[in-house]
Symmetry: C2
Subunit: 482 residues, 2 copies
């Protein structure tokens, strides 16, 4: 953390800013293995908070965790035609084990539908075994050509939910429910507004009937797919013969869903809230929500201040605040401020001899504004208030930024201008044809992020496809994306 | 769970009992991938409780979590001579990625010393960066010939701690501290007594200076290595050039430790406490500590009983008990008892119409003994008492079993008889020579589990090696082992 050079600004070079922020805050590092990253303790602590919150939400909606093998026989991947086409080109393949060449190569899981549904075929016999609601926290590998820390790496960490249902309607309901869980998590915990909706066929998960997505807008006005939920229909249950006896005594194939979010969310968090001083972490996901920096010159002052600071620390911890007292010697308060700002700690409390004498501390917010002097007596309540307010304000300002970067009912010319200027999201009519979509992508690099759910649609449905002028079948949201 | 055939008894065939118990309780399953298991939700829930407890203990001792790549360049493994010799024969090797043959094959991590210390070389510059105390929760792969669910599988889940220190003494202290953490966890959470001590050179971790181990005795009188902690000396820091500037301004190599426990602990839990009816789970690690089974015949009874049972459930949950109300219809109470016994739930509460009228419930313990009628009024306190008592009693009875299966100061003849009869642990003198150790292993299959720490040693130090009669250099504990 000795590096005191300012970060490249977001305005000057967003991508350089992103990489420098991650290095400065020690969130992650490049590894000697091509395309693989190391998640350092400061970054992993954010992921742990995310995991904890999501895991509770999954359990509250009836899911249980399990663990399935890392390796998948190559032949399994081939059983679902679209799936193998989508994933085979980006797999890592184990050909040797225990010093011998394997009879059948093993793929390192890029996702686990095939191995999991092979097990479900064994476990599910009757409608009484349904629904089966399982989640897995795991690492997966997809051989990527261009990698970026957190956003796209050869190996990444994620969770993948896999469920089996007796009816199509139940599977659809589950896929939508989990999309809602993701949206709630992203809004309430990450303070990150997302659009939800359906993906077009070209962006659909390989093997799914329908893919739903949460899409977020980053500060460089590029969209990021933050989480997806798939209604898999009976595609995999047919490929893996996952059948069940219905209540009526017939034999039917189950209906599956799968859904996942990954360590990519840490990248999203950085790009939604970070500023030119470094990371800005919403309080609910911060490893340390409050850092206390003692200020003292003489040894006497030091003893008094540290004692008071530690009392404050204990009181805050007892009230459920994740708090750290930075008692390092040989480092000036200013250097500590700088370091904790870079790491995104929401609140800083400064405690000096005069504060101790007055029974108060000074509160500084990571998001700026005037410092405030607070009485130690009611500190826990005030800190919780400040955190709640920051959590809400971060969401509100990200929302305002997204709205101001969105245009609706765009003509082709407006669309081209908006995309060319990297100005954000475009809502417009779409004819539903893959040709149009492909043409737009080729000419502008913009893609349809989602066909938005009702609550995100424009008040008036567009009449014509923005690109070809044919009748519109659905409003679409376009943007350049990560 | 429809299977109502009794398990093979432990006495008849311990190994068959173990496998049947796992299947019956749905803890794990065989997968289509050679040597890899599936950890089913009931088994994973135990692992999650273990993780939670251990993770908190690691954090309380100053460690942070991080994540390092799954893949390790083959050349990295080769840098530490003993390490490559120990692990290379059992690796899985990725030779192809993204459809192309790789220039350098990648090994799927069998353990992460090499990749982690390569990163430490980058992160550590000065004594101010030390100690560096990092833990990783991860999957690892070791190509095993003979596999057994939880005990020995090609892929398994574990944690691996990796630390760097400025002095040999600090590394030694850390290695011993984490051995102590493991022992505390095994005794206090798993109710599993362990012997701690040092491994002989033949059982030392490949690349370590010294390996310490926690060894437990299973009910079939075989020992199981439950966790290890290694003082790695400067072996890896020399191989990976992990150097630091000392306070005096010199350049020195850091001193490393590593330590790990794995999903093998779930297997240990089964074999230490299980009985012929199935799993017996110590309360602190049970997914459900209490299951409530309602008993009713008429619809009226059903409504009354379920309402009371749910009130009990809510009260227990509010007092911090992990409790489940088994309200399934179409299943007799006896069938439910049988199922929850198989799954090892510590306490069962039976609630019938007469209990509701009397304001009481009936408590049955998984470990047997008379059922007890308890007033609902002070149920939470009584349940917590019963759990604490069971937690302690399980430890005490495992300890008594181990003591009665141990002989001390054995002669060669007594040793041979004890080992031949699969009667447990033998404490005896050891000359310290590898030849003796190898000879004993070849003739009897018994190995030295540990050179025990002081608190486990016999009151009188043995004078002669039990096997060859040369002077003893240390007391040793022998047993057949998993």
């Amino acid at each position: 953390m000795a590096d005191s050079k300012a970060l490249t600004t977001r305005a000057a070079d967003f991508s350089a800013w992103y990489n420098e922020l991650i290095a400065r805050a020690q969130l992650a590092d490049y590894s000697p293995v091509r395309g693989c990253m190391v998640i350092r303790p400061n970054g992993y602590a954010i992921w742990e908070q995310m995991q904890r919150a999501l895991d509770q939400m999954f359990k509250d909606t009836g899911h249980q965790n399990a663990y399935f093998p890392l390796f998948i026989p190559q032949s399994f991947l081939a059983r679902e035609a679209e799936h193998v086409e989508g994933f085979a080109p980006e797999t890592a393949v184990v050909t040797h084990g225990g010093g011998k060449e394997l009879e059948e190569p093993l793929v390192v899981r890029p996702t686990s539908e095939t191995i999991i549904y092979a097990m479900y075929a064994k476990w599910i016999q009757s409608y009484r075994d349904l629904p089966l609601l399982i989640n897995q926290w795991a690492n997966v590998v997809r051989w990527e050509m261009r990698t970026r820390l957190f956003l796209r790496t050869t190996e990444f960490l994620w969770q993948e939910g896999h469920t089996a249902h007796a009816t199509e309607a139940e599977a659809e309901e589950e896929a939508r429910r989990m999309l809602g869980v993701y949206r709630t998590f992203m809004e309430d915990w990450m303070s990150m507004p997302v659009l939800t909706g359906r993906k077009t066929d070209s962006e659909r998960f390989a093997g799914a009937l329908r893919t739903y997505s949460c899409e977020a807008l980053m500060q460089d006005n590029k969209a990021l797919q933050a989480g997806t939920s798939h209604n898999l229909g009976q595609n995999f249950s047919r490929a893996f013969e996952v059948t069940f006896q219905t209540a009526a005594g017939d034999l039917d194939h189950v209906w599956n869903t799968s859904w996942g979010v990954s360590t990519r969310l840490v990248g999203a968090l950085i790009m939604v809230h970070g500023d030119d001083a470094g990371l800005v972490c919403p309080p609910r996901l911060a490893q340390y929500q409050v850092v206390i920096v003692p200020i003292h010159r003489t040894d006497d002052e030091r003893a008094t201040v540290l004692e008071a600071a530690d009392r404050v620390r204990r009181e805050l911890a007892a009230s459920g605040v994740r708090v750290h007292l930075d008692a390092r010697d040989g480092m000036k308060p200013g250097a500590k401020y700088y370091e904790w700002e870079g790491r995104g700690v929401p609140l800083r409390l400064e405690v000096g001899p005069r504060d101790v004498a007055a029974g108060s501390v000074v509160l500084a917010r990571r998001t700026g504004g005037k410092k405030e002097t607070l009485a130690i007596a009611d500190l826990p309540a005030r800190v919780h208030e400040a955190m709640d307010r920051m959590q809400a304000e971060l969401l509100a300002s990200a929302l305002a930024r997204r709205d101001s970067a969105s245009i609706r009912g765009a003509t082709k010319e407006q669309f081209l201008a908006h995309v060319e200027a990297n100005a954000g999201l475009v809502y417009a009519g779409f004819c539903g044809r893959g040709e149009c979509e492909a043409d737009i992508k080729e000419q502008t690099k913009a893609t349809i992020r989602v066909l938005p759910d009702e609550e995100f649609r424009s008040p008036e449905a567009p009449e014509r496809c923005m690109w070809c002028g044919r009748p519109s079948v659905a409003e679409a949201v376009w943007a350049k994306a990560y």
